[in-house]
């Protein structure tokens, strides 16, 4: 790992990304608040798992961080440098420090390029080495992701989903970035292949020491891979904690509901016997509810929740910030399963 462990690789503060929908001509122009004020920090060599339902804005954060889209507001410091308002030209030299792996390996590889060209493309764009040197590094990288060197002559359509995702990983890592954004890298793969890719990513991460923003909706993957976990709901982070803390002591009612809904390999041994069933849908990010964004579905909401936005602060501990009014230093988070209407008790 790197020596400068204390300085953050990525520091995001007050990140907002709003999209406009509807046309000006037809009167109603909506603002969709995909990301609405997000703070997060990733230390050197740290894997931060970003969880949330689809539409919660987690992929948008990833796109902002690699500057595939321009944030509406907020700052993003990559290795201390604010990249939130850099032009594409200014961003170019910094791109060797951050790369992204996409969800769908079928659309993330150029079908007209061979695997060797695809993996070597970042080197080429940054003018690294001669052709021969680049070829050597490509071969090396392919072996590191568990592909044979000869694969370089293949084309993406000849590969399986898992092999493609290995190629995408090789491509993202070949410049030795300090930060890798993995945007649901395994959710498009067969479950049998998912484990091998997650393991590979983790091995490489330990080897190369890069930090990782791992975006997913799959709690079991998050539990396996993350050092720290951030839970998103409707464009905001509602809870952040170390993996152990979060899974042992989820404080936000939404986190509790998420964890209670995750399938468990051995239900009989699970102490948790009740599942918190949330009713209703996630509110539209173009018309978020006032106050706490979760209060419309929260089983333990109090009147204050619908008027006042809870800040993301560490109540029980500075390392475990939660955005909920009901968290107290003495008792921790509220017990969402005690909510009256929405909790279901399973007899077994």
């Amino acid at each position: 790992m790197h020596g400068d462990d204390d300085s953050a690789v990525l520091e995001v503060t007050g990140l907002k990304k709003h999209y406009h929908s509807g046309s000006r001509l037809h009167g109603g122009r909506h603002v969709v608040r995909a990301v609405d004020g997000v703070d997060l920090t990733i230390g050197a060599g740290e894997v931060l798992g970003l969880v949330g339902e689809s539409g919660s804005g987690k992929s948008t954060i990833g796109k902002c961080v690699v500057r595939l889209t321009v944030p509406t507001a907020g700052t993003m410091r990559l290795l201390g440098r604010d990249i939130s308002s850099l032009s594409r030209r200014e961003m170019r030299p910094l791109r060797r420090d951050v790369h992204i792996v996409f969800q769908d390996p079928y659309s993330s590889l150029n079908p007209r390029m061979s695997v060797g060209e695809i993996v070597g493309e970042p080197l080429r764009q940054h003018g690294e080495g001669t052709r021969r040197e680049r070829d050597g590094r490509v071969g090396e990288m392919l072996e590191r992701v568990g592909l044979r060197q000869q694969m370089r002559l293949r084309y993406p359509h000849e590969l399986s989903g898992g092999q493609r995702q290995r190629v995408a990983l090789a491509r993202a890592l070949i410049l030795g970035p300090r930060l890798v954004v993995a945007d649901e890298p395994v959710s498009a793969l067969d479950v049998s292949v998912q484990a091998s890719i997650v393991n590979l990513l983790l091995d490489l991460q330990r080897d190369m020491g890069f930090s990782c923003l791992f975006i997913t909706h799959d709690l079991s993957v998050v539990e396996f891979i993350s050092d720290r976990v951030a839970v998103m709901y409707l464009g905001r982070i509602v809870e952040t904690a170390s993996r152990a803390d979060l899974f042992k002591d989820p404080q936000h009612p939404y986190t509790q509901a998420l964890l209670s809904a995750a399938p468990v390999a051995d239900p009989a041994s699970s102490r948790r016997s009740s599942r918190i069933v949330l009713t209703g849908d996630v509110p539209s990010p173009s018309a978020p509810p006032p106050g706490c964004p979760f209060h419309t579905r929260c089983p333990v909401a109090v009147p204050r929740c619908s008027t006042e936005v809870p800040p993301l602060v560490g109540v029980t501990s500075a390392e475990h910030p939660v955005a909920c009014h009901l968290v107290t230093p003495e008792d921790g988070g509220p017990d969402a399963s005690q909510g009256e209407v929405t909790s279901v008790h399973h007899p077994s």
Binding site: V98, Y155, V264, D266, S269
Partner: protein
Amino acid sequence: MSNPFNPPTIAGAAEAGSPEAAVLEPARRWRRLRQRFLRRRMAIIGLAFVLLFLLLALMGPLVAGDPSEQHFDAVLQGPSFAHPMGTDDLGRDVFARIAGGARVSLLAGVCSTALAMLVGVPVGLVAGFYRGWVDPIIMRLNDVMLAFPFLIFAVGLAAILGASLRNVIIALAVAQFPAVLRIARGEALMLREQDFLAGAIADGTRDAAIIARYVLPNSLNALIVQATVAIPAAIIGEATLSFLGLGVQPPTPSWGVMLTHAQPYLAQAPLLALFPGLAIALVTLGFNLLGDGLRDVLDPRSGR
């Protein structure tokens, strides 16, 4: 929660694909493309047709004789040894005229299409890639041009420019331009949503390189198909323009001129119309087969 992911194992050959029996040595790209091309019989036939007519166009009068030489003692004759395709109403040798006309027809077909592509493809790709304010402006102008039927547009332009082969090529190119632009833009619009384009941006690739290395190669299929349709259409277009007196002037032969010239004699000498028609059909077929072959060869997804 227990975890479905067991302790890390070296991710390996579990899904590493079929055994690679024959992996190509790092061969020259061209050699590979040539090999792929030579495996396609229909593409070779297409190439042969196109080359045959190209040869005819280049050295027509040398092999077939003077297309303008008149023999009033031998008009509207059927095929014979002296005149393998017969003679027309002025006693001119039809084979010589087919050979001579190949030059005009191929020039009009290929050059006008190439010109339309040369301008239409970059403009279309840029419009589709950038969207923004450029795209609607270009596309509305394009709609105005598309509103005119291809031939009427070409006829109008040729009438303004004056009758000559050069002007026919320009008129046909301008008339083809909107369709080419539309197809190129559509491809770029579709491709810009693909993750691999976002990946290229994440590499730090410059826009020009993204368009040249990512967008253009992936638009080739559609563009080649468009070209193989456009070349025959332009050949017919030249025929129409020449028929209306807006194209090449007599006595210069062109297949279109010959076809229309044969019309009054359809009852007496039906073969007079057959040969130029056949020439157009064969060139069209040739370009279509060649285009299909090229499309397959250039697309790595289409097998060996």
